[in-house]
Amino acid sequence: MIPQASTYAASIDNVILLIAVLVGFWFIAAEGMFFWLIWRFRAKEGVKSEYLEGHEPHVKKWITWPHSLVLVCDVFIIIGAVQVWYNVKQRLPDDADATIRIIGQQWAWTFQHPGADNDLDTADDIFTVDDLHVEVDRTYIFQLQSRDVLHSFSVPVFRIKQDAIPGRSIMGWFEPTQTGEYDVQCVEICGIGHGVMAARIHIEDAQQHADWIRSASTGTAQ
């Protein structure tokens, strides 16, 4: 698996693991039974097949028990999935450190950083194209927008993904946990340039991030 670089990456991976264990069990059990039956009941000279309706209790239990067990597994998966979903998508942290704006358009990402005053939509906001700068261990709320068609903001190392819809501002959040430079992908087909709509996220420590803000503010930031 690829690196886990956000606070909730591990919880999403754990839900994937939970599902893998449960469905893996069913998969192996079903395929094992399937191939065993094919081998066990292969045609033999002089042996006639059995006549079974399927509703005799001694055979039907082979369907009803697995049936109930599948339901039980489903309940576990639902609980795991909904918990993670609630944390990642349904709530926004109260104590976010900063808000950023992410704007998709054919075929580039524009990132609006709050700048030195840490407030969005003020004069010192820093706009960049295809490079998102964030500070490690800080909680960010993002506002996701689109100028034309659907796009989708995805940072695989965070495990986050959210479609952008023109006319709406969709909120989400993340908190990076390790520094580094990673891919940002557009994962909703958005026209002929979809394949080049790549961006990078730069996760910096406090010092690097402060340096970047200073250089971007004084320099010729886009």
Binding site: E31, A43, D74, G80, V82, Q90, D148, V149, Q162
Partner: protein, 571 residues
């Protein structure tokens, strides 16, 4: 029996009419015989399948070897790439899976298996195919118009699909939409026929629970299609207006909403999966019952489970839209419904597996295909759980994991299911047996590469590779050597699989020309189609309509010396 005499007279008239009717190719295009219409659908479906396979070949070459000069195509531009993946998906679902599984086998099997001499509405049936053919032509024309074919993915999400300025395929996208709409018309016409014929034209003595499951499955699929397609047709009309008249149904700047389309599309799109899945399951269970010499393990259980699956399938659509910007609370509801549908689907699989118990299993070519359907579909089924669970879908949505997952459902359905049906009923369709050795070479030459194509794609998806990208070199994390190696393995496996299809066509040709004569019932099966000649003449029943005395799966009955008991034998 007066009934029989009337039926025979009708056949005679029909024959006389045929002789004076159109000659040459028109005789085939203008026929109202359900078997001929089945052939039309089958051959058109296979031809479209070859086009879809060619598209897969071209874009897989580009994905694995970016910038390569693809033999038989040339350099692939980003626009062409998008158009190829879009039309590959559209063709394989609407012009291959639907016409072959539902229309071709529905047309061929339903009248023969329920003991009718033709469909209830033969001319509507003919019209259905003609509209379908027109839709295929419109789609093919759309590839060659200025601007090229539509490239907004088979889901056609607006605003990309609605605004020419965004998709840059003005004419291509309108023709694509028109073709899909025409295809829906064709299947509505066909579906009416399937449902009415099953309800009204069964042979004397055939009760509801004596109908072979494959017929039930095709009819339930037709009902699902009719119930789900209405909203999408309305949605398609609005999209067409947005494209051509500049209305704003999906334009937020003018009060519209792009997400509306997604709801209408997936309200149809998810039941559509079951529309093609159910006939494939029906084929599988019929073939398995025949070659395991076993009664289906719980006929009514299977039937009711299918109906339950069908009903539930209308309440799961938004699992395609978890991250699309819908209210996040909705994801919880749809996670629950989606995981609940795993219960009836698992039950269908259990019934198929349990049917093998106590059998006397013969691994003929059709049986291998039917068993392979089950073995491979299980992979598609269990990987779907990851995507139906909202928390895990945040990561997997729109990655190659999704792509591999639905190919593990659609390939077993549309390709493996079709080959199971085709090899099983080939003797009935053409009167000759297929070569079993060539059949098995083709089987292994398809199944092994199939897994080598799609297992690497699961791995790529877990590694974060997202879909519909014409060149992964632009994404540093996806451009590694290992990832390109996996892409190349998949592409080479695809080439191997395509080459092995030559064996299939060769086998069809030699078997059709020189195969051993099949006789009426080469597989010693029970259902009615095996009680008439191979191939059945016009009107199906030269000896009069059959009478039905029992269910379709009376194999291995303890009171009989033979291990089968045809439905039409009095005792």
């Amino acid at each position: 029996m007066a009934h029989t005499a009337t039926a025979a007279d009708t056949h005679h008239d029909a024959h006389a009419h045929e002789h004076h009717g159109p000659q040459g190719i028109l005789k085939y295009l203008w026929s109202t015989d359900h078997k001929m219409i089945a052939m039309q659908y089958l051959f058109t479906g296979i031809a479209m399948g070859l086009i879809g396979a060619y598209m897969a070949y071209v874009f897989r070459m580009q994905t694995a070897f970016p910038g390569v000069n693809v033999p038989g195509f040339g350099q692939v531009s980003p626009g062409e790439y998008n158009s190829l993946i879009t039309n590959h998906g559209t063709i394989m679902i609407f012009w291959v899976a639907m016409p072959v599984l539902v229309a071709a086998f529905g047309n061929f099997l339903i009248p023969l298996m329920i003991g009718a001499d033709d469909m209830v509405f033969p001319r509507i049936n003919r019209l259905s195919y003609q509209v379908f053919l027109l839709s295929a032509i419109v789609l093919i024309v759309s590839f060659f118009v200025p601007g090229g074919g539509f490239g907004g993915a088979w889901t056609a999400y607006p605003p990309l699909s609605a605004v020419a300025e965004y998709n840059q395929t003005n004419l291509g996208s309108s023709l694509w939409l028109l073709a899909v709409a025409l295809e829906f018309v064709a299947f509505l016409l066909g579906g009416i026929n399937f449902i009415t014929t099953l309800m009204n034209s069964r042979a004397p003595g055939m009760r509801a629970y004596d109908i072979p499951l494959v017929c039930w499955m095709i009819v339930i699929a037709s009902i699902l299609f009719m119930l789900s397609v209405g909203p999408l047709i309305a949605g398609a009309v609005m999209l067409f207006f947005d494209q051509t008249l500049g209305t704003g149904f999906y334009d937020p700047a003018r009060g519209g909403d792009p997400v509306l389309w997604q709801h209408l599309f997936w309200f149809f799109g998810h039941p559509e999966v079951y529309v093609v899945l159910l006939p494939a399951i029906g084929i599988t269970i019929d073939v398995i019952a025949t070659f395991a010499r076993k009664k289906v393990f719980g006929y009514k259980l299977m039937l009711y489970t299918t109906v339950a699956t069908g009903v539930l399938s209308f309440f799961v659509w938004a699992h395609h839209q978890f991250i699309a910007g819908i209210d996040p609370r909705m994801a919880n509801v749809f996670t629950i419904t989606t995981l609940l549908i795993s219960v009836p689907i698992a039950e269908l699989c259990f019934v198929i597996i349990a049917t093998l118990y106590g059998g006397s299993i013969r691994l003929t070519t059709p049986m291998l295909w039917a068993l392979a359907f089950m073995a491979e579909f299980l992979i598609g089924g269990v990987t779907g759980i990851f995507l139906g669970a909202s928390g895990a879908d945040i990561y997997f949505h729109d990655t190659y994991f999704v792509l591999a997952h639905f190919h593990y459902t659609f390939f077993p359905i549309a390709i493996i299911g079709t080959f199971a049906a085709f090899t099983y009923w080939f003797p009935k369709m053409f009167g000759r047996m297929m070569n079993d050795t060539l059949g098995k070479i083709h089987f292994w030459g398809t199944i092994i590469p199939f897994n080598i194509i799609f297992i690497p794609l699961f791995v790529l998806g877990i590694g974060g590779e997202h879909r519909r990208i014409y060149n992964y070199e632009h994404f540093p994390e996806l451009a590694g050597e290992g990832m390109f190696m996996l892409r190349q393995i998949a592409t080479v496996a695809l080439l191997v699989m395509l080459i092995f299809q030559v064996v299939f066509f060769y086998n069809c040709y030699v078997s059709w020309k020189k195969g051993e004569k099949a006789g009426k019932n080469p597989w010693k099966a029970n259902t009615l189609e095996w009680t008439t000649e191979s191939p059945p003449p016009h009107g199906n029943w030269p000896e009069g309509l059959p009478n039905v005395y029992r269910g379709p799966y009376e194999y291995g009955h303890p009171d009989r010396k033979e291990d089968y008991w045809p439905q039409n034998q009095p005792s």
